[in-house]
């Protein structure tokens, strides 16, 4: 049994139909536990006060904003190389979720920035890169929306995603070169001695798990919607031909 069998739309629909409720419930549970724990049962930070608690939304959404693009990159490559329709549709389905995550990260960051840095927005490298990522999502979605033929749209958006990934990465370094930032280093990393304190760390992990599961659930849902709409359109265009 190979992974590629799920590239068959029917197979995908059957499996996602079973998996979706489980993932949705798990994601809701994680988010509920993580957020309640984080908001009400952790102490205030000695410098940041209660504003620190926005990391339970900010960090997971920022993480998913980047991961959604990475997923689009991988699925685009799969479409270009192996031409599995589900893969292309999953990339299409992930884009609006990714852009929403980017927006959440930007807005929560701004809300936190006002009391902490005294400004909603600063041209800090991290903030700026997220704004640029937002623009890349916008272009990608606009191209999907503009092309009528779904296979051509999948082809062209995949090429755009490849080139865009290179330039998004390039922008990240260019922006670092351009301005030194205010933003603190990564909140979480595997090879670093000092992460956020353990009291904040555990509920944050639960929240991240919740966001990952939420993302998976939304992608599954949106991909099956895309498959249904492709089926409907195939029927309609067949009607028109005969």
């Amino acid at each position: 049994m190979s992974l590629w069998e799920y590239a068959n739309p029917t197979r995908f629909m059957q499996t996602s139909g079973k998996v979706l409720p489980v993932v949705s419930v798990l994601s809701l549970a994680c988010l509920l536990i993580g957020l309640v724990w984080g908001f009400f049962f952790t102490p205030d930070d000695y410098r940041q006060g209660s504003t620190v608690k926005i990391i339970y939304l900010h960090v997971p959404s920022a993480l998913m904003a980047i991961n959604a693009w990475l997923m689009m990159l991988v699925t685009s490559l799969i479409w270009l190389v192996r031409r599995h329709h589900v893969s292309a549709l999953a990339a299409k389905a992930a884009a609006p979720i990714g852009i929403t995550m980017t927006l959440i990260a930007l807005i929560t960051g701004a809300i936190w920035g006002q009391p902490m840095w005294g400004t909603y927005w600063a041209w800090d490298p991290r903030l700026t890169s997220f704004l640029i990522l937002f623009l890349f999502y916008l272009g990608y979605m606009a191209l999907w929306a503009a092309i009528e033929n779904p296979d051509t749209a999948a082809d062209l958006t995949s090429v755009l995603c490849l080139v865009g990934s290179v330039f998004a990465l390039l922008s990240r370094y260019a922006v670092n070169f351009w301005n030194q930032g205010l933003h603190q280093g990564a909140s979480l990393s595997l090879d670093k001695e000092e992460n956020v304190a353990d009291v904040f760390y555990l509920p944050l992990l639960v929240c991240i798990a919740g966001f990952v599961l939420l993302f998976v659930a939304l992608v599954l849902l949106r991909t099956s919607t895309e498959i249904r709409s492709r089926r409907t359109n195939a029927l309609i265009s067949r009607e028109r031909l005969s």
Partner: protein, 209 residues
């Protein structure tokens, strides 16, 4: 030059239009495609020219031997007739544009801009391009549109000349060109919609189940 296809399926957009097309054309022979509008003549010709890859089947020639002439004239209106011809001659590595000019009687128009030509003159210019390609298989889509009787005869003469040199041609046309070695092929039986073959669109197949 002989060419042919075997069991070819081709698509327009994401719809498979034709399936199971097979034919062979000998050197010096012309194949006339006949079918009602929308049956897939243009789709087949674009496929033979290598613009759309076939869905399945075998193409028994190299698309590098095909000179394609589409509905659109492909002329640059700001350039003169000579500049238009010279451009394509350079692209195809042909030195002399005069044989094409003579065959389609363009000598008097050489300095005129393409935008000042009549529809028929544009068509002649566009067709004369074929002679600059030096390619042996001509794939022509409605070549005689907007040509008068005199120029249709000129075009026929050019095709006959091409065939006499061992070339071959496949064209979609409704009028009789009086070609000595022409065969007619009706492609309407190959329309995918009429056949009970599975389509290559997985979404359609699943929706039908």
């Amino acid at each position: 030059m002989k060419f042919g296809v075997e069991n070819l399926s081709c698509r327009r957009g994401d719809v498979t239009v034709l399936t199971g097309v097979s034919f062979d054309v000998a050197a010096g022979e012309a194949l006339i495609l006949r079918a009602p509008n929308g049956a897939g003549k243009t789709t087949l010709l674009r496929c033979l020219a290598g613009l759309t890859p076939p869905v399945s089947g075998r193409v028994k020639f190299s698309t590098d031997d095909v000179a394609y002439a589409a509905h659109a004239d492909g002329l640059k209106s700001q350039l003169s007739v000579e500049e238009n011809l010279q451009f394509w001659a350079d692209i195809f590595g042909t030195r002399d544009i005069m044989p094409a000019v003579v065959a389609f009687e363009l000598a008097d128009l050489l300095t005129r801009r393409a935008q000042d030509l009549s529809a028929g003159q544009k068509r002649r210019l566009s067709l004369s391009r074929l002679m600059l390609t030096g390619r042996m298989i001509w794939a022509l889509d409605e070549p005689t549109v907007s040509l008068d009787a005199e120029n249709v005869a000129r075009f026929s003469a050019a095709v006959i000349g091409h065939l006499a040199q061992g070339g071959s041609a496949i064209m979609a046309t409704h009028i009789d060109l009086g070609l000595p070695s022409a065969r007619t092929l009706d492609i309407s039986p190959f329309r995918a919609i009429l056949q009970d073959t599975p389509s290559d669109d997985p979404f359609l197949d699943e929706a039908l189940q």
